[in-house]
């Protein structure tokens, strides 16, 4: 499998047309390798969620190229893209998104069974995935009987079960207290060190610090200390998000992502 799990080249995403046109992303280049975790920070409306949705094949770039595990997501048909998602991409959300009627083990088995894997093998994969996040004894529990930290660890197991190597995490610690959040980051980190690639969208610098590097989004542009200063327009987007906390952070509000 390619060492580059995710590659964005000149990715632009425009919503709407004409006067109401909104440039959610403007020529973004980003590469995430296996064994690497990249944090994405930026105020509301800076394009963080759009970036994650494009990486996850939930949205299509207006121009530019998105490759997951060496495959061009944009040129893939709907079926191929769905297969790409099931085999290579795992999502983790702030609110865990576990199926309440299924046990931890069953939740982790779902993507494998959807992919046609026999239940016995899926169960074995799920057992391994749960053990990798320290939840081997919780397989029979239902989400309602778990703490937030436990539920999020199950969600991480589900995101990385089987052959999936790209983990896209959208504020995964947002609903957790700081000690539990740290425990979840520790698990994420361990999965990345075991060879997964991680993209962590967060507004919390302390959490971003768990990544190997941090990129900053400003009005659809990736900025770092060496690039030109962002435009006044992009800064206004930042001003709107002063204090930028997740609770009132609709981000780009792009539909999808299975919410």
């Amino acid at each position: 499998m390619s060492a580059v799990a995710l590659k964005l080249t000149g990715v632009t995403r425009v919503h709407g047309k004409g006067a109401g046109e909104v440039h959610a992303l403007r020529g973004v280049d980003l590469e995430v390798r296996r064994g690497e975790m990249v944090a994405v920070m930026g105020p509301s409306g800076s394009g963080k969620s759009t970036l994650l949705h494009l990486a996850g094949g939930l949205d299509t770039a207006t121009s530019g190229r998105v490759e997951v595990a060496g495959r061009d997501v944009g040129s893939a048909g709907a079926r191929e893209r769905a297969a790409l998602r099931r085999k290579h991409i795992g999502y983790v959300f702030q609110d865990f998104n576990l199926v309440p009627a299924l046990t931890a083990r069953e939740n982790v088995m779902v993507p494998l069974e959807l992919d046609g894997m026999p239940a016995r093998r899926a169960r074995e994969h799920a057992r391994v995935a749960l053990a990798e996040v320290g939840m081997e004894d919780m397989g029979a529990r239902f989400p309602d009987d778990m703490s937030g930290g436990q539920a999020q660890r199950v969600a991480i197991a589900r995101a990385l079960v089987g052959t999936r190597g790209l983990l896209l995490a959208d504020e995964p610690t947002g609903a957790l207290d700081s000690v539990t959040g740290e425990a979840v980051l520790r698990v994420l980190r361990a999965r990345v060190e075991a060879g997964a690639a991680g993209v962590l969208v967060t507004h919390d610098a302390r959490h971003a610090a768990w990544a190997d590097r941090t990129v900053f989004l400003r009005d659809g542009l990736l900025v770092d200390g060496t690039t030109a200063a962002p435009s006044a327009e992009s800064l206004l987007a930042g001003a709107a998000a002063t204090g930028g906390h997740a609770a009132d952070d609709p981000d780009d509000g792009v539909a999808g992502a299975g919410r």
Partner: protein
Amino acid sequence: MSVRHALLVLLSERPMHGYQLRQEFERRTGGTWPLNIGQAYSTLSRLERDGLVAPVGSDDPDAPETYRLTDDGTEQARSWWDTPVDRGTPARDELAIKLALAVTVRVDGKPVDVPAIVQRQRTATMTVLRDLTRLKREAGDDLAWSLVLDSLVFAAEAEIRWLDHVEASVVRAARQHPERAEQGAPAPSSATARKTADRKGATR
């Protein structure tokens, strides 16, 4: 940092000589603030002068002088625990001073590029925060070291939040007083302001 008080509370455990004090101080604070041996001895001699410590005395003339707390020293050590650390007079902070100057100074008649300064600092502080986080992950169950690291982690995090605030405030100021361009951010034209409003409308 009051080395004086740190040495007093270490001596409240047991009598020690200067080199031991230095070792204990560094060990218990994770070596974050190195204390040179000269400073340890000069602090000890000032404490002796002030009657807070006294030499224990030894039969061995070659042994380094070991010090114990006097009653006054014991009292001072206790009162350090009981008294909050004075935060009333902030230390001189180069970053705060730099940005305060950046929003007012004009170079060759032009405002300083504040957003660029903010972003460079953000990247640098983020790198520090990442390194601290890595140390923290490896700190294991060494509570003292871990708490010292936490203190540095929270300070770096606070700095990044403050930088976000600076960035937003500069833009807001430029928007409210476009005629005063010295805030460092180019004043947005009404067209861009409208476009921003459109974006907000479109994303809800």
